[in-house]
Symmetry: C2
Subunit: 200 residues, 2 copies
């Protein structure tokens, strides 16, 4: 059969397919979209990818992605230096930032304890957290791991590691999502909402 697809095209399709959630069909669509688009679009993406790894690193204090180390959050004097929110991933940090109602520091774990995926406590930045809290300047640690089995296991592990450090340990509230409909909420969430009900 004639080779109807030139090599540069298959190579890009293959590279796109390596990304999560992008199968061969989506990869083809993206590639042919770029072929029809002005050069600038593909080149801008190419450049952004090249620069990404070159200019970013992990903050040596909180573990977030940053250009400067320590990161702007860790060095911002306007932020509450006695409060740490522990998150699994940088994207979770972003979600908290977007609320506009958190003004403390962060600690990115880089995942959650997951025996299925072979991720134990030593694979996460838990030791670094214990060290940060050990300084005695942290008054509260808010565990903001995901609500789910792995996040729960991670939260419990961290809680155990941090007891007797003189720091208050809290966790994000569970309950009904705002705008959700009781009828469609799963029963575990509803059970948690019942258990955590507050007086009006």
């Amino acid at each position: 059969m004639t080779r109807a697809v030139p090599e540069p095209v298959t190579r890009l399709i293959e590279a796109f397919s390596r990304l999560p959630g992008i199968g061969p069909k989506t990869a083809s669509r993206l590639t042919y979209f770029l072929l029809r688009s002005p050069d600038e679009l593909a080149l801008r993406l190419s450049e952004a990818l090249r620069v990404l790894k070159e200019q970013t690193r992990f903050c040596s204090i909180c573990g977030n992605i940053t250009v400067d180390d320590p990161c702007p959050v860790c060095t911002d004097p306007r932020r509450d230096q006695s409060l740490i929110a522990v998150v699994e991933e940088p994207l979770d940090l972003l979600a908290l930032e977007r609320t506009g109602s958190y003004n403390g520091l962060y600690h990115v774990l880089n995942g959650a304890i997951s025996p299925v995926n072979g991720i134990g406590p030593d694979d996460l930045r838990i030791k670094e957290l214990v060290q940060r809290v050990g300084d005695g300047k942290i008054l509260e640690v808010i565990i903001a791991t995901n609500p789910g089995q792995e996040g729960d296991a991670t939260a419990m592990y961290i809680q155990r590691e941090l007891t007797n450090k003189g720091t208050k340990i809290t966790r994000l509230a569970r309950g009904l999502p705002v705008g959700g409909d009781l009828e469609y909420v799963d029963s575990v969430t509803l059970m948690r909402a019942l258990q955590g009900r507050g007086e009006l």
Copy 2:
């Protein structure tokens, strides 16, 4: 608020968001995935994007994407030079190639007639098709535009342009998709399948 996302990260998120079907959330996920992955993954994608436009062009005969002009399909002596399949996009050409049961030439229109999107016959490679057929060597033109309003309009327009050229004009059959279930097939498809029923 502190700038929690470094500029190289937002720039890549922004570049990904320009791709079709990729919203800001998916773009963030892809970016943070690449941040956690080995450098090689981002660099390979970056390189593939850079090379894509540099090394590819459109075949001056059929309009398919190619490195060499004319493309390997147009210059393949083993292919039937008297048969042209007219498709909207290079991806449609690929779909036909994948069947392994088409051995003629192609003509890529680069779209379909769509008044809503302001695409008229002159925006497509129809003139080039008429010219190719005018040579007298083409015995059959298979119109393989998409089954739908725009593809139908395009097919009708092309058919009109090609009458009296002494070339047979055919169109891909409509009917039930193989493996489909009568119960779930839309009624227009079912109607077409009825109209086009064949004797056993």
